[in-house]
Symmetry: C2
Subunit: 362 residues, 2 copies
Amino acid sequence: MVPRLTAIYHVRGDAASIAVRARAIAVEQSVEMPVAAIDDAFVLSEIVGRVDAIRALTDGVFEVRIALAGETVGGDAGQLMNMLFGNTSLHEDVILSDVELPAELVAAFAGPRHGLPALRQRVGAEKRALTCSALKPQGLAPAALADLARRFAAGGVDYIKDDHGLADQDYSPFAARVEAIAAALAAYPDTQYVPSLSGDLGTMRRQVAAAAAVGIEAAMVSPMVAGVSNFHRLAQDNPSFAFFAHPALAGAARIAPELLIGKLFRMLGADAVVFPHHGGRFGYSPDTCRAVARAALADWHSLHPSVPVPAGGMTLARVPEMLDFYGADIMLLIGGDLLQARDRLTEETAAFVTAVHRYPYG
Amino acid sequence: MVPRLTAIYHVRGDAASIAVRARAIAVEQSVEMPVAAIDDAFVLSEIVGRVDAIRALTDGVFEVRIALAGETVGGDAGQLMNMLFGNTSLHEDVILSDVELPAELVAAFAGPRHGLPALRQRVGAEKRALTCSALKPQGLAPAALADLARRFAAGGVDYIKDDHGLADQDYSPFAARVEAIAAALAAYPDTQYVPSLSGDLGTMRRQVAAAAAVGIEAAMVSPMVAGVSNFHRLAQDNPSFAFFAHPALAGAARIAPELLIGKLFRMLGADAVVFPHHGGRFGYSPDTCRAVARAALADWHSLHPSVPVPAGGMTLARVPEMLDFYGADIMLLIGGDLLQARDRLTEETAAFVTAVHRYPYG
C-alpha cells in the first residue's frame, strides 16, 4: 500500500459550518458518493478521505487538512491532480494550498533529471545566477528568429527560450525554426536553445526528436496545457533533455503557485520553472515569488532542485535588485526589454550578462 | 490566412484605466513584447492583438473584445487555449468569457463525431431524454463494479459511466475492469458502458484499444487533466467511439463554463459534456447550467450537438424538475442517489428510467 497523502485546502466559510464543509470535500475528492451507502470494508478504511485537522486562518478562511489514499493515484500525474483538485476545482470557495506526499510517491515521479547544478554545468557557470532571453514576437519567420538568437548568443546569454506562443504555425514551422536556430547557434557552444513544444503527446515527441537531431538538449512545455501526465512522460522518456515548465493556463487554477509551479512541476520533472516575478506584467506578490523559488530549490525527498526562472516583463535595471532578492540560485530571464534595444541587441545582452556575472554573490 | 478570432474577456477595472488594460491584454495574448520594438510588417499588421470594443457591464466590470490572429493557433487545441488565455490566466482581474471563431477553424477541429442523435440511436431512444448512472466508489474491485453495472443495466439505464476517479489503480486495473464490466453487460445490448480514460496519451490510446477489444464504443476523458490537444487527438483517431468530457480541473480556470464545457469541449469532439447541475453538490447557477446546455446544443458552424449531462448529486426526486428545465435534449446522470438504494439498486434504477421514459415531452 502507498501511504496516504495530505491535501491542504484553504476554504472560505464560517466556524459553524466548516466541519461539514471539510467532510464534504473529503468525500468529493475520494469516493464521491454518500458514505452511508458504502459497504466495502477496504473502501471505508482505506479509500474514503479523512479530515485530519481544521484551523482558522483569517477573515473567515480555514485551513483544512485531508488525508487521501495514495493508492488512488495509480502512479499517474493526471490522476494525482484529479484526486487533489479535480471536482473541488469546481467549488469557488476552495483553494488547493499545499500537499504532503509520501516519499514512495515522490520517488516514483522522480523529479528533475538535471536541475540546477546540471543547468549551470551545461553553460560553464559556477556559482552565479544563470541568464536567459526569449525569442519573440510570434509571427517572425525562422530566419528572423535565428538572427535574434545569434545576436543574443553573441551577447553571451546562457539560455535562449522560445516565447511560449511559438508553436508549429505556417509562418514558422517547428522543424524549420529549430534547424535555423541550431545552425545560428553552432558558433556559440556556451549558449543553449530551449524550443517550446506544443500539440498532443505524439506531436511533442516528434518535436523533441527534431530538436535532438540538430543537437538541441532542452525544451519548454506548459504542463497545464499539455496535461501533466504528458509532461511527465516526456521528461521520463528523454533523459538527455532538460525541461523548462511554463506557467501558461496555470495561474487560473486556484492552486497555490508555490505548490503547482514550485513543487508539483518540479516533482514531475521540470529542470527549470518559469513564473512571473512581482513588479512586472503580473500580479504575484514578493511573498509568492519567494515561496515559488524556495519550493523549487528546497531539500525535498532528495529531488534535484529546479531552477527558478522569474520573468514577465523584467528589465536590465532590475538585475541587482532581483539577485538581492533571490540570490545566485536562479535564472534571470529578460526578453522584451532586451529586444527594445533593436540594433544594439547584442550589446544590451552583453550588459545583462555582465551585470549577472559581476554581481557580488555572498 | 485563417481569419482573426475574437476573444471576449470580462475585466475588473475602472473607466479611467480600462483602455490601457485592454491594450495590455491584447499584447500579452499575442506578441508578448513591447509593440514599439517590432519592425516586422506582417507581425504588426496581422499578429499583434487588436482591441475591437470595450463596454461597461456592471460594478466595475468591462467586456473587452480582442481580435487575435487565427494563424497563431496552428491548428492545435492546446495552442488555441494558450492564445485565448495562457498568460492572461495569471491575471486575477480577467475572466475569459467567450470566443468567436472563424468557420475554417471550427471546421478543422470538427466537433463531435456522433453527438446527440447518434447517442440516442445507440440505445434505441427516440425523442426522450437519455439516462446514465455512474460506477463508484473507487476502491472497489472489478468484480464488484461489474456487479453494480449489471444491476444498473437490469434497471434499464442507457449509459453507465465510470466515476472519474476510476483510473488504473492496483485494486482495479483498467483492463481487468473493462473486461469484467463488458462481460456483465453482454446480456444488455441497450446499455452502453463509458469507461474513464487516464494517463498520458499513449496510455489512453492503449485503454481505448483494450475497451474496443471487448466491444466498448464510448469513453470519458477530462480534457483539462489530459490536455485539450490529447483529448482532440483521441476523438479524431477513434471515429467509432463516442467521447464524454468530464469537467475535472476545469472549474477552476476562470473560463466561463458555457464557453469551456459547452463550446470548446464540443468543438474538440465531445459527444456528451458532463457538468454540475445547480442545487446539487456544486455551485453553478441555473443561468450557468442553462447556458452550458444551450451552447452544447446550439446550431453552431454545422457541428453535431453535444449531449448536455447535468450531474453532481442529482436525485430521482428531481427528474421531473430537471426535464422541465432542460427539455428532452439531455442525458440525466444519477449516481450516488441510486447507489443508496443498495439491495434495491435495480428497482431504483428502473424507477429512474421509467420517470424519464414517461415524462410528457412537449
